[in-house]
């Protein structure tokens, strides 16, 4: 066989996706912010100068100073300690809620693709119906039934986002399903289950990971909103949304009480969004310039 001619010209290996991710400015900033959050979540306990729930660590409503970096709240609790401790809660909230909606949505989508025909269509139409209610409304309904607590708020936010992930995964899977390699696998004798697990799932994963990364920020915001409304975290939890709610009454006397938890939420959301954006550019071959 005279194949030697073309073997020479194999395309070179390209830089791994993680290198491409960090080379993009958005990706580097996003990764840095997420690392900061991760660091606070892991080591916040050891670093806090005061216990986040200890009342009268200082006088109430102190302005930021060296002793109290972010000031103190209405009960004299150290704001810096509370924001730092909130990182762990926030990270847990984001990951658990997204993990729930992500996996449930993926399962629903795969079932719909596998079932095909009217069953698959029925499942997806049901998702469409759920999708037409706003997330907050579904979450409110869930909390109303389950009762107000942070766990229930996370559960509610997770459930409310299932249709979103199901639809995204379903659309991506349908695109992949129509490609020749899926037909080639079918001709090779692959059944629907193998097709879904071995071929479709790995191929829609890049898209889904990107979507999920951005979804973390949405989940954090939604949970914070529920806490702000008093339906999520209960006092004295150092949850950023709840802290915002408490600070609202002192907006004029102690604006830093709103500033720092708000800033923390904003930076976390920004971090996940930047990371998701850069991740998409790094993973999606279509956007990769040659």
């Amino acid at each position: 066989m005279s194949a030697a001619v073309e073997i020479v010209a194999a395309p070179p290996r390209e830089a791994p996706w993680i290198a491409r991710l960090l080379r993009a400015p958005g990706g580097a900033i996003g990764a840095a912010l997420i690392l900061l959050l991760l660091f606070s979540a892991l080591f916040g306990d050891a670093l806090v100068p005061y216990s986040p729930t200890r009342m009268a660590a200082g006088r109430p409503l102190l302005a930021p100073s060296l002793a109290h970096l972010f000031g103190t709240d209405e009960f004299g609790r150290d704001e810096f300690s509370r924001v730092l401790a909130g990182a762990r809660l926030t990270l847990m909230v984001g990951l658990v809620a997204v993990g729930l909606s992500f996996s449930a949505g993926l399962i629903v989508a795969m079932l719909a693709v596998l079932a095909r025909g009217w069953r698959g269509a029925a499942v997806m139409r049901l998702m469409d119906v759920l999708f037409s209610f706003t997330d907050t409304l579904i979450a409110l309904a869930c909390v109303a039934v389950l009762g107000a607590s942070l766990q229930n708020a996370v559960l509610a936010v997770g459930i409310a986002a299932i249709p979103f992930y199901a639809r995204t995964a379903h659309a991506a899977a349908l695109v992949e399903r129509g490609k020749p390699y899926c037909e080639a696998a079918a001709v090779a004798g692959a059944g629907p289950l193998r097709l879904a697990l071995r071929h479709l799932l790995p191929n829609i994963m890049p898209v889904m990971i990107v979507v999920a990364t951005m979804g973390v920020s949405t989940a954090i915001l939604a949970t914070a909103a529920l806490s702000f409304l008093g339906l999520g975290a209960q006092p004295p939890m150092p949850e950023w949304g709840l802290m915002l709610a408490g600070a609202r009454s002192y907006m004029e006397r102690a604006p830093w009480l709103m500033l720092f938890p708000g800033l923390a939420i904003a930076l976390t959301v920004l971090g996940f969004n930047l990371l998701g954006d850069a991740l998409r550019d790094a993973i999606d071959p279509g956007r990769r310039g040659r």
Partner: protein, 581 residues
């Protein structure tokens, strides 16, 4: 050569994002009224060269050197707003994909008049009148009605005519055509090439034709530039390039082009399966009066589109039957039906005498073992996230033939069998070239020892020199394994090279079938004759689309131009593309 050239490109170099050199020191000149063909395989830099002239290079690429003198300006140094006056007005462009080059949500009329209103400042009515004249010029029927239609309502050939009308409406001095006929059927291709020649003859437009097809070059070009990996290999008049090529690469390129005319079939291929073919042995595949139709249209206007209409065919072991036809002829639907990927409405498909439709479950799975496929596009037919070795081993394990380490070992052996190193098993498809991927697809298909291979245009997305290798590989493997092969193709030159028998399909029916030589040399059906006549012949002496040959280069009147446009009676132009004339 009379006077100064229209465009003089000199020492063009283009570098990529990481500083790699994509085009190096390319230079050529185009005289007014001349067709210059830039020929090369993928990665040769032919499209980049054209894009750089229009300032349309992708963002990360830069022109690192050279000059392109055009009408007293250097195109490579113009800023965007200056280039905008050149684009469209002085240089027109026709792209490969008429589907994506037209905006799908805007009417033809709006797209046609846009350029006129921008460049000429014409009013709505005047622009519309000019656009209608241009559509008439490219022989589109009912140009006024066409102005209100959307691109999806037009056939591929009609869209490419609209593109040419849009490029010609401002009467540019230079028309850049980037693979203008690659996405089209052969009979339509011939019409478009003739139309380009006519435009050139009528307006004295120079044409920069970018193509990979030496047949198209022979048909149209006055002079040729051969590119390879961004470097010029050779340049010269078309006759010299074809009859006395100097560069070794040009010779390779010419040798690799399969010719549709007689006498080029490798005897090895022909004799290999001659013993098995056509003798008394029962056919591996028998297709009996198979029909398949699709429902189309909305809720209220149901239409039945008959894709396959009562087709009967048989293929013996070791035999290759080529299924030939243009897009929409039903050849792919039939191939998919044989694979069980498509249901059939009527008829039977027998594999070794067993009806595929009546068997279910395990028996069907067992039959699966005997039919495999090689798809057209090797970039899409391999799972991008599965290692090559796993992809080849997949059918083996799924059918329970081999598992684990044994399957992996077999995959490596199969890779060597198709001429690839065994350690390719650990690579992902995107690390392989197109030809290598198609080899992997073949290895995957033959791994389970099938009796029948369905090859759906297996080489049409590959470069010519790679095409030849892949076809040779398929022929060798077929002869050794005694495979029956259903070879679906629109390319008669390739069909002559690989097939023993041909079946010509048109609108779902087989219009002619028989041994390759008989059908291609002495076609009985008028459609087969038209199809054969439309294939570009890589021989400039027999060219039919060069202005100098058929049409007087100056003093064109409508009558002469139309004679060129419609051909010499061999190709029924109007028959294949109803929009014409």
């Amino acid at each position: 050569m009379s006077g100064a050239p229209l465009l003089a490109l000199d020492g063009l170099s283009i570098a990529g994002g990481h500083g790699q050199i994509l085009v190096e020191d390319v230079g050529f000149a185009i005289n007014p009224g001349e067709t210059l063909a830039v020929v090369g395989e993928s990665g040769s830099g032919k499209t980049l060269t054209a894009l750089s002239l229009l300032g349309l290079l992708p963002e990360r690429l830069r022109v690192t050197g050279g000059a392109a003198r055009f009408g007293g300006q250097d195109l490579l140094r113009l800023d965007d707003s200056a280039l905008q006056h050149v684009r469209g007005a002085a240089i027109g462009m026709v792209f490969q994909e008429p589907m994506s080059a037209l905006n799908p949500v805007v009417t033809i009329g709006t797209q046609m008049t846009e350029a006129l209103r921008i460049h000429r400042g014409l009013g709505r009515a005047a622009a519309a009148a000019a656009a209608i004249r241009a559509l008439d010029l490219v022989h589109l029927r009912d140009p006024a009605g066409l102005m209100r239609r959307y691109p999806h309502q037009l056939s591929g050939g009609m869209r490419q005519r609209v593109m040419i009308a849009g490029a010609m409406v401002l009467e540019p001095a230079l028309l850049i055509a980037d693979e203008p006929t690659t996405a089209l059927d052969v009979t339509v291709q011939m019409q478009i090439l003739r139309l380009l020649a006519e435009m050139k003859a009528r307006f004295g437009t120079a044409i920069l034709l970018i193509t990979h097809d030496m047949g198209v070059v022979a048909e149209c070009a006055d002079r040729v530039v051969v590119l390879r990996q961004g470097r010029m290999q050779e340049t010269g008049p078309v006759g010299a390039i074809f009859h006395a090529p100097r560069a070794a690469y040009t010779r390779t390129l010419l040798a690799a082009v399969p010719r549709p005319d007689a006498g080029t079939t490798p005897p090895a291929v022909r004799s290999a399966a001659a013993g098995a073919a056509g003798t008394g042995t029962p056919p591996v595949l028998a297709i009996e009066r198979v029909s398949r139709s699709f429902r189309a249209g909305g809720l209220f206007r149901r239409k039945h589109h008959v894709a396959v209409d009562g087709v009967s065919l048989a293929i013996a072991a070791g035999e290759t039957l080529a299924l030939v036809g243009e897009s929409g002829s039903g050849k792919t639907t039939l191939g998919r039906a044989v694979l069980g990927l498509e249901e059939i409405d009527a008829g039977r498909i027998l594999l070794d005498g067993t009806d595929l439709r009546t068997t279910r479950g395990a028996a069907r799975q067992a039959l699966r073992r005997h039919v495999q496929i090689v798809f057209q596009d090797p970039y899409a037919s391999l799972d991008p996230r599965m290692k090559v070795g796993d992809a080849i081993a997949e059918p083996l394990t799924l059918l329970g033939l081999l598992r684990g380490a044994a399957a992996r070992a077999r995959a490596r052996a199969l890779l060597q069998e198709v001429g690839l190193p065994a350690d390719f098993a650990d690579r992902y498809p995107h690390q392989l070239s197109g030809g290598q991927r198609q080899r992997v697809a073949i290895a995957r298909a033959i791994g389970i020892g099938p009796r029948l291979l369905v090859a759906d245009e297996p080489t049409s997305s590959l470069d010519v020199s790679v095409q030849a290798h892949v076809l040779d590989l398929m022929a060798t493997l077929q002869a050794r394994l005694g495979l029956a092969c259903l070879f679906i193709s629109h390319d008669l030159a390739i069909v002559r090279r690989v097939a023993h028998r041909v079946a010509v399909m048109r609108a779902g029916r087989v219009v002619e079938t028989g041994p390759v030589d008989a059908v291609l040399d002495r076609p009985q059906d008028p459609y087969t004759r038209a199809l054969i006549a439309a294939v570009p012949v890589p021989d400039p002496n027999r060219a039919r689309c060069r202005a100098g040959g058929l049409v007087a280069p100056t003093g064109i009147d409508r009558g002469v131009a139309d004679a060129a446009g419609t051909g010499r009676g061999v190709v029924p132009c109007g028959a294949a593309d109803p929009a014409v004339r």
